[in-house]
């Protein structure tokens, strides 16, 4: 009975759909409920207390949808609110992208680069988690704040983006980093641009892939994998809805959104 419950995923916005994409690959038979807090995006520039508060509201919404696990797709929430949520909601297993990606990265390389938003990098969460899993690695971090607006604007082939990428990744390239964590839900969209800058030998870690594998292993171990024959259903909820959302959402998800995005209200 428990098996058939959906997986809950939340993000500050729509970028977390790149995580849903990976969950769908690894766990094609699972139903997924997604919540994007688009009315209050971006979390990255907000203070810690308010991020915890928003994350708690998001988790409560997903629990109301009777999910069997919660995945924090948002890097900022993962950095700031994961421990708080795990402490608050002891009955539901909570997964988050940063811990999963850190665990993956130390298996792959010795000189690990991390790129992300200003908030994620500033939090130091990736360095902390990487060091938790291995003391013998070097970590180099770099905030790349202009990547998100370029991606959200769909300006993926712009020469300007290549110039920005070249500038941001300059020191990581010089340092001879062997493994790079794409520490923002948006970055897998520009994977090829990043790879071009750093050379084809670079090992890229997509935290969406890492957390999807971890959720798979957990559900398998616990005998909680959904054994239905049909493919999983997806439901998408957002806290604010404007015209461009569906288009942007489909870019992140990498497929057409069949059911509509549904607008809901978390608090007044």
């Amino acid at each position: 009975m428990k098996k058939s419950k959906p997986i809950g995923v939340f993000d500050s916005g729509l970028g977390g759909l790149t995580v849903v994409k990976q969950l769908t690959r690894v766990l094609p038979h699972e139903d997924i409920v997604y919540l994007g807090d688009t009315a209050r995006v971006p979390y990255g520039s907000r203070g810690e207390q308010i991020i915890k508060h928003f994350s708690e509201e998001n988790t409560n919404f997903l629990l109301g949808k009777n999910v069997k696990v919660v995945v924090i797709a948002c890097n900022t929430s993962s950095a700031v609110a994961a421990d708080y949520l795990k402490d608050k909601f002891k009955k539901v297993p909570i997964f988050e992208v940063i811990d999963s990606a850190a665990k993956d990265a130390v298996k792959k390389g010795k000189k690990i680069g991390v790129i992300g938003t200003r908030a994620t990098i500033g939090s130091g969460a990736y360095e902390r988690d990487i060091k938790k899993y291995s003391k013998n690695v070097k970590v180099l971090v770099k905030a790349c704040p202009l990547f998100v607006p370029f991606i959200e604007e769909g300006e993926l082939k712009s020469k300007a983006l290549k110039i920005i990428a070249n500038t941001y990744l300059h020191n990581i390239r010089l340092a001879g980093v062997d493994t790079l964590i794409m520490g923002c839900t948006h970055y897998p969209i520009i994977r090829s641009i990043i790879k071009k800058e750093l050379g084809s030998n670079i090992k890229l870690v997509d935290p969406g892939v890492s957390v999807a594998r971890e959720v798979f292993m957990f559900l398998k171990d616990k005998g909680m994998l959904n054994d239905q024959e049909r493919k999983g259903k997806k439901e998408f909820f957002v806290t604010d809805l404007t015209e461009r959302f569906t288009k942007v959402a489909e870019m992140f998800l990498g497929e057409k959104i069949k059911s509509q995005l549904k607008k809901i209200e978390l608090s007044k």
Copy 2:
């Protein structure tokens, strides 16, 4: 007595400080109370109801500070919520950047370009207001969504920004626009880049200048100009405060912020 009351200014974030800069130039003896709703910035991607609601809360805060007039520095609020606020708060004169800039632009040119965020351009507010003041002008609009992130990152000399500006302003240049409204609080910061793209003959309208002049004329007419000898005091309130704010605020204001930014809470 009424004369000595401050001027109230609100914006969704810190960009409205470019409007404060112009108010200070035109009205150096006026005290100013500024509210930047940084906890809920950006308004541009939000729905209409929520923008009205936020704008009403901002206005209420300023009225609590006993202001003699309210200036809406935010283009999105001006586009979406100005009429709503004027209707709701009949006792205080409310000024807004779009109407003021439109009035100015029709005095200057016949072929008027307007650049702004996706939300401002999408609202059609500039076209509507320009047509209200003159039927005999052509209007060409263009959303320039990547300008704001470049400016907020302080990436003003980046070659990438020049490429973006060239792309965004291409059609406006080709159309032979004679007057351009910089329809976003941030854009005066890249005035020289815009001017370089469009040639030195282009007449630029800074809505901050337009609204500052209009407020000046109004206060003068009503005998409400502050006649104190000292320079006006400024107070800055924000709804969320992070480390980078003071630096970004000083870029927009064009001067050091002597008093601290004060964090306040508008609603839970």
